[in-house]
């Protein structure tokens, strides 16, 4: 009786052990960082900007799409290997820089344990010095739009906008109040001012999150200022 029990237990534990032998380890190396321009993060809208990681050497080709968060940060759990990182063209309010090692827009990333990697890109514009002032329920945002890419590849501003939301997701989709100004109506890029009135919120809330965004002509994704929490 006792022997039988020991044998059964032995069989069961060998099953359990073999699971560990048969399966791959889960990817455990964390690659994280931000999209930056001169070490300043690029703020974008959620789920809109992604870049690709390719791990060469497999029979079928499929990219790992890494989404960039609103504050320009990203993270991915990966296997230890050498990946090719590509920021696709027409992705994001920027263009990718030529990598000095590969001579193209591809960046080689050697993942071996956790790693922090900031990806340098070149935005068409940067939003500088965004300030928000509250008067009653009117929020006024002022900022400077700095043209980064000039010359033949320069693009004009389609529109600028201020967005206000109850939660920390703030963009053209998720907002309770917004105001826009067409790019053609801008006279001074150094002092752009927009204001909007926050409607009554249910349930009542004494604070909101706000940021300003800039849409570039012919570019789908907008660039934003960092999200700021303001008290009403």
């Amino acid at each position: 009786m006792k022997l039988q029990l020991i044998i059964i237990l032995g069989i069961i534990s060998s099953f359990l052990y073999s699971c560990g032998l048969d399966n791959y380890d889960a990817p455990g190396s964390k690659l994280e960082g931000r999209l930056v321009y001169n070490s300043e993060p690029i703020n974008v809208s959620y789920n809109d900007v992604t870049f690709q990681l390719w791990e060469p050497g497999w029979q079928k080709k499929a990219e790992i799409n890494v989404a960039v968060d609103q504050d320009g940060s990203y993270s991915a759990l990966l296997f230890n290997a050498t990946y090719k990182l590509i920021v696709p063209s027409n992705q994001g309010p920027f263009r990718s820089k030529t990598n000095t090692v590969t001579g193209s827009d591809t960046i080689l990333v050697k993942v071996n344990g956790n790693q922090v990697l900031d990806i340098e890109v070149e935005p068409y514009y940067m939003i500088r010095n965004a300030q928000f002032a509250v008067a009653g329920r009117v929020i006024t945002g002022t900022f400077k739009a700095e043209k980064i890419i000039t010359g033949i590849n320069a693009k004009n501003i389609n529109e600028v906008a201020i967005y206000v939301n109850k939660t920390m997701f703030v963009d053209f989709r998720s907002n309770v109040a917004s105001a826009k100004l067409a790019g053609s109506a801008l006279t001074d890029l150094n002092a752009i001012s927009l204001n909007t009135t926050v409607p009554a919120l249910t349930p009542a809330q004494t604070y909101v999150f706000v940021r300003v965004g800039l849409k570039i002509q012919g570019v789908e994704d907008m660039i934003f200022s960092p999200i700021v929490k303001v008290n009403l």
Partner: protein, 624 residues
């Protein structure tokens, strides 16, 4: 031992007794084989009928819910509310890569070409029909995916271990359009010139299709300039702007050929213009306007359930209906009879409601197509008046309404309970009720029993009709700068709708072109392709939760959410307006997100399985 030998001999003789050839070489009894089919005209007809039926279609009578994916309608059905909650359209949406079907059509063409027992005239017609179906499939593909590999013979794998010789790269988008146009030109002479044939290819259909194909190519060439990133360097997506005029000229010529041939005419059989317009879609007897249809027949197994799923709840013949609710976005687009646009005014300048004796008064003096397309509150269907009203509005502003069809409550000052909401709703979140305040009328069958699951309807789906051809001609003429011609063609369509004040040359703008197609061709499966080829889709469905536009005649107004308008009965005993109707504009509670059409949606995703199997296939733009 001897006994066994004899037995063995006996068995062997039994085995000999079979005639192996006849025994193993049996004709199958469950399928027809090639030389049976290709000797018999009626069998070939059933093969081609199957192919006709399998051409992919997006919005059609048998998938009502797709009409609620854009901004024409609201889906009043529990399983389809997600269409109004999506944050964006997926890149894979609308994609199609059915090369299995193309292979079958190619096999048909190949075998038809070598068939020698058919009458030569029949054979030529079948061959032309096969090529028509193939061109049609390529048109459906190029609308969705851009340039695709053009495969013109059935590909067969020789099992040598290396399938790479079967890989074909994508053609340029313009090459696919040119291929379709060339095919149409070549097969035209082999097809019958008859306006009575509606469900097979005819010469009239070739002209109709050519005008549509050329118009699509032309507008992609012209308006593609507005979205420079929606192109591929190899030309698989995008058409050079310089080619636009040539295509517009071809589109105009084909449309005019058809119009001037006199084989088809606009449908005018009923005195009442709205009734006339709705009858155009359900009248299958000697319909002069329909050019090409997908036909259905009662008791044949091939029936459609459009009437079943969309019938008003108050007179439903079965336990369902009311699913597709036209949006206020569409309803307010119909012009007034003096050719001006006007949104519906629910309140006076001082904020008080405007009171109507009948809910239909709200919609008076509008384009007759409004009532022909939409069932409005207070209108009739199958001889019975609809019961669309959302509740009682009291003088102090409170609303008394129920939460089920025809719910009863006691009004203040009364003792007996009475109905406080119509049997058609509208009731928020209640499926099958008119949640936008409207039901759809286009293609709704009037036959008794058409709303029963066991019966269904045999109303056909019109794929091409002369009305569209007039609008194709008008658009092409407008783009070529010939506004006189554009006005003439557009006025033909408008006059039938009761808009008898003709548009002048100065009135013809791009706004008018877009608007006329929107109201004439609503619920006919044109909207998505039109908005794509004009490169307007990312502008009008931009993902922003914008209020309903006040300029329904403008082509680039944002329309990301579907709105509704509900009638209420005003309850104020003793007051002057007691019992009259007032209206409120609403947004259905299930509409929680705005449609967002991204640049990557213009051409659908070719998925990674396809691209891995054939590395020559390039990915569509803006999807990474």
């Amino acid at each position: 031992m001897k006994k066994y030998s004899i037995l063995l001999l006996l068995f062997m003789s039994l085995a000999w007794g079979c005639n192996d050839k006849a025994f193993l070489d049996k004709e199958p009894t469950n399928i027809l084989i090639d030389n049976q089919i290709w000797g018999d005209k009626s069998l070939v007809l059933s093969v081609i009928a199957d192919l006709y039926d399998r051409v992919p279609e997006y919005q059609t009578l048998t998938n009502w819910s797709e009409f609620a994916s854009l901004d024409e309608g609201f889906a009043s059905n529990g399983g389809d509310y997600w269409r109004h909650k999506n944050q964006e359209y997926g890149y894979g949406e609308w994609s199609n890569w059915d090369y299995g079907l193309i292979r079958e059509v190619n096999l048909f063409i190949q075998k038809c070409g070598t068939a020698d027992k058919l009458d030569p005239a029949d054979k030529a017609q079948f061959l032309a029909e096969g090529r028509f179906i193939r061109a049609n499939i390529y048109f459906e593909l190029v609308k969705r995916m851009g340039g695709v590999p053009i495969i013109l013979e059935p590909l067969t794998y020789d099992f040598n271990g290396d399938p790479t010789y079967l890989r074909k790269p994508r053609s340029k988008e313009v090459e696919v359009y040119d291929f379709i146009i060339k095919e149409l030109d070549e097969i035209k002479a082999d097809l019958p010139k008859s306006s009575v044939i509606k469900s097979r290819a005819t010469q009239g259909l070739i002209l109709a299709m050519k005008s549509r194909v050329c118009l699509y190519a032309a507008s992609i060439a012209k308006y593609g300039a507005n979205t420079p990133t929606v192109t591929l360097p190899g030309g698989e997506v995008g058409i050079a702007a310089g080619l636009a005029n040539g295509y517009y000229q071809k589109a105009l010529a084909a449309a005019e050929d058809l119009i001037n041939s006199g084989d088809y005419s606009l449908y005018r059989k009923k005195e009442n213009l709205s009734e006339n317009f709705s009858n155009l879609f359900i009248d299958k007897g000697n319909n002069p306007e329909a050019i090409f249809v997908r036909d259905f027949k009662l008791k044949s197994g091939k029936v459609e359930g459009w009437t079943l799923v969309n019938q008003p709840w108050s007179q439903a013949e079965d336990l369902e209906g009311g699913r597709l609710n036209p949006s206020l976005n569409l309803v307010q687009s119909f012009e007034k009879l003096d050719n001006t646009y006007e949104t519906y005014a629910t309140n006076k300048a001082d904020g008080d409601y405007i009171y109507f004796n009948s809910p239909k008064d709200m919609f008076a003096n509008r384009d007759a197509r409004l009532e022909g397309t939409v069932m409005l509150p207070g209108s009739f269907y199958k001889g019975k008046q609809l019961d669309i009203w959302a509740g009682f509005l009291l003088a102090d502003g409170t609303v008394i309404k129920g939460d089920n069809f025809g719910a009863r409550k006691t009004l203040p000052g009364k003792t007996a309970a009475e109905y406080v909401v119509g049997f058609d709703g509208p009731i928020d979140n209640l499926e099958f009720s008119a949640q936008s305040g409207f039901y759809v009328r286009k293609y709704m069958d009037l036959a008794v029993g058409s709303g029963q699951r066991g019966v269904n309807s045999e109303v056909w789906w019109i794929r091409y009709r002369l009305g569209e051809i007039y609008l194709n001609a008008a658009e092409a003429a407008f783009e070529l700068g010939n506004v006189t011609k554009a006005a003439t063609y557009m006025n033909k369509i408008r006059e039938r709708a009761g808009l008898i004040i003709p548009l002048t040359e100065a009135d013809i703008t791009f706004d008018r072109v877009v608007h006329e197609r929107k109201v004439e061709l609503a619920f006919e499966g044109h909207e998505l392709w039109d908005m794509k080829r004009w490169r307007l889709a990312h502008i009008i469905w931009n993902g922003q939760s914008t209020e309903l536009t006040s300029k329904p005649g403008k082509y680039d107004e944002v329309s990301t959410r579907v709105f509704g308008m509900w009638p209420y009965k005003y309850y104020n005993p003793g007051g002057a307006n007691d019992g009259k109707y007032v209206f409120q504009k609403i947004i259905p509670a299930q509409v929680t997100n705005a449609h967002r059409f991204r640049l990557g949606n213009y051409y659908s995703d070719i998925n990674s399985t396809i691209r891995n199997n054939n590395p020559l296939i390039t990915r569509n733009p803006n999807q990474e």
